[in-house]
């Protein structure tokens, strides 16, 4: 089952397309990372999926075909917007009360138990909690709705390393306990490798790359060899080429079975390397599996 499915989805603000021709399917059971530079359309895509914005073109459905924004869709989705919004003047207890009354389903004992585990006092005003605790409070309120899909927009951008770790641990244990699927946007690339097992790369309002992280890593290699021969490599599509006077690094779409030219070394790539390479080459696109006749010319060689 697909947690989010979009076809030809677009959103225009005035004359600017924030998201264009977006077609994708995000399967259940994963932590999906939505990655892209600022202005790539990450927040727009998430807002469309959770029903906070109306598409200008195309369709988006969630939880196996429920139209985004419909009551059936809203019941199964919890969304935590950027900068962890909680009403600063309300206490944790007030926020529990409020959230329970604004939602059809709210598991109050679950929320109270989680907050007790986290050591967040119910009487304290949210604005007086630390940044990490505010984030955990917002997350707990979202999880207490017992969603099947948890959507997080830039959840850890504002948090210090310890709070970041604790926040993600809370998200991921919810995945173990309740089978929640998670979709999150982020530009903290380095930490994604531990957390995400499905990747959607957005660039300039379009989907540039999507697939299971394992498949994407298995179908890309970093080739290192003499710079003078870099242009002669044409066996497989080159995503990104970095070249110094003597040595060149080519990130290529090739698996372990693809031949390595004599004098070249092949290395596995990390998720961060892969995402960076694609983000630097907005023209390059990839889906997992065999390249679909899109044997791109070697793109933008950077000296």
């Amino acid at each position: 089952m697909n947690m989010i499915e979009a076809s030809g989805l677009g959103k225009r603000y005035g004359s600017t397309w924030a998201l264009r021709e977006c077609t994708l399917a995000i399967p259940a059971g994963h932590v999906t990372a939505l990655v892209g530079p600022n202005g790539a359309g990450k927040t727009t895509l998430l807002n469309l999926a959770v029903g906070l914005a109306e598409p200008s073109a195309g369709q988006v459905s969630v939880l196996g075909g429920r139209p985004a924004g419909s009551p059936a869709a809203l019941d199964g989705i919890a969304f935590v917007a950027q900068d962890m919004p909680v009403y600063k003047n309300l206490s944790a207890a007030d926020l529990l009360h409020l959230t329970r009354n604004l939602n059809r389903r709210f598991d109050r004992p679950y929320a109270e138990a989680r907050l007790a585990d986290l050591g967040i006092p119910l009487k304290r005003k949210a604005g007086r909690l630390s940044g990490g605790q505010q984030a955990q409070l917002a997350l707990t309120l979202a999880l207490a709705r017992r969603p099947r899909l948890l959507v997080l927009d830039e959840p850890v951008a504002m948090l210090d390393p310890v709070a970041r770790h604790d926040f993600m641990a809370l998200v991921l244990t919810a995945m173990v306990d309740d089978g929640v699927s998670v979709v999150l946007s982020s530009h903290v690339l380095a930490e994604l490798e531990r957390v995400a097992d499905y990747l959607v790369l957005l660039s300039h309002g379009r989907v540039q790359m999507t697939g299971e992280v394992e498949d994407l890593l298995a179908t890309h290699r970093m080739l290192t060899g003499p710079a003078a021969e870099a242009d002669r490599y044409t066996e497989r599509p080159v995503v990104h080429a970095g070249r110094a006077e003597a040595q060149a690094h080519l990130l290529v779409r090739a698996g372990v079975d693809d031949p390595v030219p004599p004098g070249w070394e092949a290395h596995p790539v990390s998720l961060e390397e892969l995402a960076l390479a694609y983000l630097r080459e907005p023209g390059a696109g990839a889906r997992p599996g065999p390249a679909r006749g899109r044997h791109a010319q070697p793109t933008g060689v950077t000296k």
């Binding site: 641990a169 306990d177 531990r194 957390v195 097992d197 890593l217 298995a218 596995p268």
Partner: protein, 158 residues
């Protein structure tokens, strides 16, 4: 000082972000290491998936993949509803062979030293060869069906 108390499991995992080794493989290596050094023995329970996820903040699918790999290797077995348990030990098998292996490695080290490699060069070469080896083995084991019958009833270890 705070001392994190374990959850009763014999070992606790840690991650080296700078190693470049995939997370699931780091978990597999740590179990194998613990088996070799005797921290783990047959019948011991591996850390519960939820506990690993909570302490390392990693994707649960990664832990499941590591445990699956250990099952494929015949080192662990899942018991439905209970968890994953150590099935075999590595130290027993290794003991007589270890001396032989060590001697041949010493010979190789002497050759590498004679060829002009310094300590860091040797480590780099060894590590890269080792990584390639496991990569290849992982890929061949995920591609083909499990050849050994060690993974019986090992589904859904959690």
């Amino acid at each position: 000082m705070t001392i994190d108390k374990g959850n009763g499991a014999p070992i606790e995992f840690r991650l080296d972000a700078a190693s470049g080794v995939p997370t699931y493989l780091q978990l597999v290596h740590q179990v194998e290491h613990a088996l070799r050094l005797g921290y783990l023995k047959p019948g011991d329970q591996l850390p519960k998936v939820r506990d690993v996820v909570a302490s390392l903040a990693i994707n649960p699918n990664t832990v499941l993949k590591a445990y699956k790999e250990l099952e494929v290797k015949g080192l662990a077995a899942g018991r439905p509803g209970q968890g994953t348990f150590v099935q075999a030990t590595l130290s027993q098998v290794a003991l007589p062979e270890l001396t032989v292996l060590r001697r041949s490695l010493s010979g190789w080290l002497a050759t590498a030293d004679g060829a002009g490699l310094d300590e860091n060069g040797i480590i780099a070469l060894f590590t890269s060869a080792l990584r390639d080896f496991y990569e290849r083995r992982r890929e061949s084991s995920t591609r083909g069906p499990a050849s050994d019958g060690a993974s019986d009833g090992a589904e859904g270890a959690a």
